[in-house]
């Protein structure tokens, strides 16, 4: 089997440019790797469409765009016109997207080739991808371990080298946590950076699409491609900048904060020690690193639950068997159609969150819970903004522990939230946040470092991330090369 996919994007580009390979070679290689993989990373593989597009691109002059002809995998909650979009739910098992998401428009404009749609937690609700109607994807580092989630399929496919790049979505860590578990780089950009038009909503005020890649530079490159003002999303914005511009630049007068909560007892000691190693690495290079306290940071997960489940209960109300998706056959009444379609269409985790969300908003509860959560959320954002008055970035672990066994989580409703505990602050405040691999635990499972930046300041995150990437000795490509 050819192994062009494991080359860097820049190297692939040179080969394409020199006509040593064509996009067809890349697509064929991806398809072969996906078909021979047992990771269950994909829900839909679009062999025909990808090959057809590759053929068309092969007839064209290779542009200077580094992403031209590069295959990409898309999380299955993002609309790609003509392809099934299931959200890993029985509810949408037979649903065909009839339009392209805003970011997919851009992916196509750049001449990237969509290989297929990746596995995930049902409607992005979960942190192991085990709630998928199609079964859980497996972690390439150890197939008994979870990939993390909800963007588990995207993480596994990039980590294992089935595709060079993927898109995920992140509501409370769903890009960063699986990136951490599978040893890849995942970015949740500033809220509004990437258009949500065409992203099936989980929690509207928290959701954000972002790039998942093998290294920092390629992550910034993909973010360049998918971030543009989209008038079909009122929260969209654009700053017209190159996110690679601070990569490999010296860190001058750099100050980094580590919240004490991020290295408290909730974090596994192996993970904590790795973060402290990174602290030392930075200090050795004249970066000032301080431990700090941030008010409410330890209570945010509760607020996050309230907001995420409240919004989800409303966003998922549209799946009712009337206009699209699963529809319970021969209902006795309209209400029967609704309640049976939703009983059989949704899985348990989704139903539980809809139930909790509905209760949180019912009667006087909306004021007690949701509105109050929004008020504290405003405070929380201000508290983080104050940190950025004094520090360039905030760092810490992405997850409290490394990937755990499939089935470990069981049906404990609380456990579902424990994986969010370090990552959802960025969603609550709208801040950009990246996870990158920085080491291994004793089981040889990747450990992720999280870097949180100020609003709209992804470029600085990439600057620090590229510095760290260059200065650590571990290699995270073995799982790809071993294939």
């Amino acid at each position: 089997m050819s192994n062009y996919i494991n080359l860097s994007i820049k190297e692939i580009h040179v080969l394409l440019k020199e006509k040593k390979i064509t996009p067809i070679d890349l697509v064929n290689e991806c398809i072969k790797k996906i078909e021979s993989s047992d990771l269950n990373a994909f829900i839909t593989l679009d062999k025909e469409g990808a090959l057809k597009q590759a053929e068309e691109l092969s007839k064209m002059e290779v542009s200077d765009d580094l992403l031209f002809g590069i295959p990409i995998a898309i999380k299955d909650n993002i609309m790609v016109n003509g392809l099934r979009c299931t959200c890993a739910s029985r509810m949408l098992d037979n649903f065909t997207a009839i339009y392209d998401a805003g970011c997919i428009d851009l992916i196509k404009k750049h001449g990237m080739i969509i290989i297929g749609k990746t596995n995930m937690d049902e409607f992005a609700m979960g942190s192991t991808s085990e709630t998928s109607y199609y079964g859980a994807p497996k972690n390439p580092w150890n197939k008994d371990k979870v990939t993390g989630g909800s963007s588990g399929g995207s993480a596994a496919s990039v980590s294992a080298g089935l595709v060079p790049m993927a898109l995920g979505s992140d509501t409370g860590g769903s890009i960063r946590q699986p990136s951490s578990f599978t040893g890849i780089v995942g970015m949740k950009p500033t809220y509004g950076r990437v258009s949500r038009y065409g992203l099936v909503a989980f929690a509207s005020s928290l959701d954000q699409i972002g790039p998942m890649t093998r290294n920092v530079y390629e992550n910034a490159l993909l973010l360049n491609a998918i971030s543009k003002l989209d008038r079909r999303d009122m929260t969209s914005f654009d700053t017209n900048e190159d996110f690679t511009r601070k990569i490999d630049k010296p860190l001058e007068n750099f100050k980094v904060a580590i919240p004490n909560y991020f290295v408290s007892d909730i974090v596994d000691s192996e993970v904590k020690n790795k973060i402290l190693e990174i602290k030392k690495l930075l200090e050795d290079n004249n970066v000032k690193v301080d431990f700090i306290d941030i008010k409410h940071i330890d209570k945010t997960v509760t607020l996050y639950q309230i907001i995420a489940m409240g919004e989800a209960s409303s966003n998922l109300a549209r799946f009712d068997g009337v206009r699209y998706g699963f529809s319970y056959p021969n209902p006795t009444s309209l209400d029967d159609l609704y309640s049976k379609t939703r009983k059989f269409g949704f899985g348990n985790e989704v139903k539980r969150r809809i139930m909790v969300g509905s209760y949180l908003l019912s009667g006087e509860n909306a004021k007690t819970y949701y509105n109050k959560a929004l008020e504290i959320r405003d405070d929380l954002q201000k508290n983080f903004l104050k940190v950025f008055d004094n520090y360039n970035l905030i760092i810490g672990p992405t997850t409290a522990r490394c990937a755990y066994d499939l089935g470990d989580k069981g049906d404990d409703p609380l456990k579902s939230f424990m994986d969010d505990v370090l990552v959802m602050h960025a969603n609550m405040g709208g801040f950009p946040s990246l996870s990158m691999p920085v080491g291994f635990n004793s089981e040889h499972l990747p450990i992720g470092l999280q870097i949180i930046g100020n609003l709209r300041d992804e470029a600085t995150i990439y600057g620090l991330a590229s510095f760290i990437e260059k200065n650590i000795k571990e290699d995270f490509s073995e799982v790809r090369n071993g294939l």
């Binding site: 038009y197 065409g198 992203l199 509207s204 079909r232 009122m234 409303s314 206009r323």
Partner: protein, 469 residues
């Protein structure tokens, strides 16, 4: 002691913006079912509401004419409920921050003025239309997302007459503010009164009436409800809070449902639409081209001396009143008489409107002024009406071409008068012996001699001078 009637009214009006409130589909729903929609209107997964600023402009205009205080910092809320005509199973509306608060509409009942107080006005999206069969209902989402305003009065209406007057006035104001078509028959204005009666200060049990097809039917529905409720209370029975529907054929109300205790709509702020801050600048801009309201126009018409019956005829025809707005500097009595009389007869006969004719503003102005100065007679106007409406020629050219220019030359008129007087000395004598009607006969002969072209008023004046000398 008799029962005190208390009525509050909720009115929904469709705003006549070009596009829907949260999607760029055209805001009209006459076309074939489910053709005037996009992925947003059908509540497709992955779609987001896109606020139409024009809706805010229209709502601001409505606030102004209903004397409402505008909420500068506002947001939208989701009202969550499952129903087949509700594509997302939540409706985007305003619960906490309605765009307008604490306004009023002044009505006049038999010369007594009363302010009907408006509690609030908010913006929301319309639902889809449904047709019901025996076993299934059919849905057409063309109407889904058409912008609505909902206007809620305080319970301060005390009779069916007040209710009708309020609705007529409300309709007139919104119509004149160019906010809504307010066509109740077509559903672009929907009125839902809630009626209660009580012998004490405490309000009685509220009954809501829906499905009313005209303003006068609102009055009838209230009358019926009051009578029905009285009968029940007189029997010593207890009224239940409920929703009833008006039946146009029998002029009665029919029970739809007894109110469930507290609807649980799970309102929360719409996260996909950033909070809105209405700047003074935007509000000013929205009100910039607000047309004059009917009461101001009535005042002008009254001052100009137009008969009350004609004033109401003009106000009832907004297009006509808007047309007159361009001619407030000329003789409005003549102008309105022309428009209500010969011109509207001409337009009706040909089934066209003024803009379809060759009657330019300059021409109309010239025509009214010429009639005002008696430079042309009513008879000549009637003769040249078709030419005015159908040719590009100005009035003078038409008159010249037809040889119809009025004679204003004093010496010529003198000569003609002398001729008539000498030719008809018998009639002159009759006049002199006291038969005043003879003067009219002489005037008629004079006009005939002048072939209808002499200025009648100056000719009459001169004739009388000569007769009385």
């Amino acid at each position: 002691m008799d029962y005190k009637i208390t009525v509050g009214i909720e009115v929904h009006c469709e705003l006549k913006t070009k596009e829907k409130i949260f999607s760029p589909s055209l805001s009209c729903y006459g076309s074939m079912a489910n053709t005037n929609i996009n992925v947003i209107d059908l509540g497709y997964p992955g779609t987001l509401p896109l606020l139409n600023k024009e809706v805010l402009e229209y709502a601001i205009r409505a606030c102004k004419v209903l004397n409402l205080n505008i909420t500068h910092d506002m947001h939208f809320d989701r009202k969550n409920y499952f129903y087949a005509d509700n594509p997302k199973n939540f409706q985007i509306t305003q619960n906490e921050t309605p765009i307008g608060r604490d306004g009023y509409v002044e009505i006049d009942v038999d010369g007594v003025k009363k302010k009907i107080e408006i509690l609030e006005m908010h913006i929301e999206e319309d639902t889809s239309k449904s047709v019901h069969g025996e076993k299934s209902s059919l849905l057409d989402f063309n109407r889904a997302g058409v912008p609505l305003i909902e206007i809620v009065t305080k319970p301060c209406i005390n009779s069916s007459v007040e209710a009708v007057k309020y609705l007529e006035k409300l309709r007139e104001l919104l119509l004149y503010a160019n906010v809504s078509d307010c066509k109740i028959e077509e559903g672009s204005m929907r009125c839902e009164p809630n009626v209660s009666i009580s012998k004490t200060e405490k309000f009685g049990t509220k009954v809501e009436v829906k499905n009313i097809g005209s303003i006068s039917n609102v009055g009838e529905a209230i009358e019926y409800e009051v009578a029905r409720q009285k009968e029940i209370l007189e029997k010593g029975e207890v009224l239940k809070e409920q929703t009833r529907r008006f039946d146009d054929k029998t002029k009665t109300t029919i029970l739809m449902r007894v109110k469930e205790t507290g609807n649980d709509y799970r309102y929360f702020p719409e996260p996909d639409i950033p909070f809105v801050h209405l700047t003074d600048e935007f509000i000013e801009k929205s009100l910039h081209d607000l047309p004059r309201m009917p009461d101001d126009r009535r005042n002008d018409y009254e001052k100009a001396g137009i008969l009350p019956i004609n004033i109401e005829k003009i106000i009832a025809n907004k297009a006509l009143s808007d047309y007159l707005e361009r001619f407030l500097d000329i003789n409005l009595v003549i102008a309105s008489n022309l428009l209500l009389g010969d011109i509207s007869a001409y337009l009706n006969k040909n089934n066209i409107s003024i803009s379809d004719t060759k009657l330019t503003d300059d021409k109309f102005r010239d025509l009214v002024n010429k009639l005002d100065k008696k430079e042309i007679s009513n008879k000549i106007f009637k003769d040249i009406l078709n030419d005015i409406m159908e040719t590009d020629k100005n009035i003078n050219t038409i008159l010249d071409d037809k040889g119809l220019n009025l004679i204003n030359d004093d010496s010529l008129i003198d000569t003609l008068i002398d001729k008539v007087l000498s030719d008809n000395s018998d009639i002159v004598n009759q006049y002199k012996s006291g038969n005043e009607r003879s003067a009219k006969a002489l005037m008629g002969l004079l006009m005939k001699e002048g072939k209808g072209k002499i200025n009648p008023s100056s000719a009459n004046q001169k004739l009388m001078e000569k007769l009385n000398s």
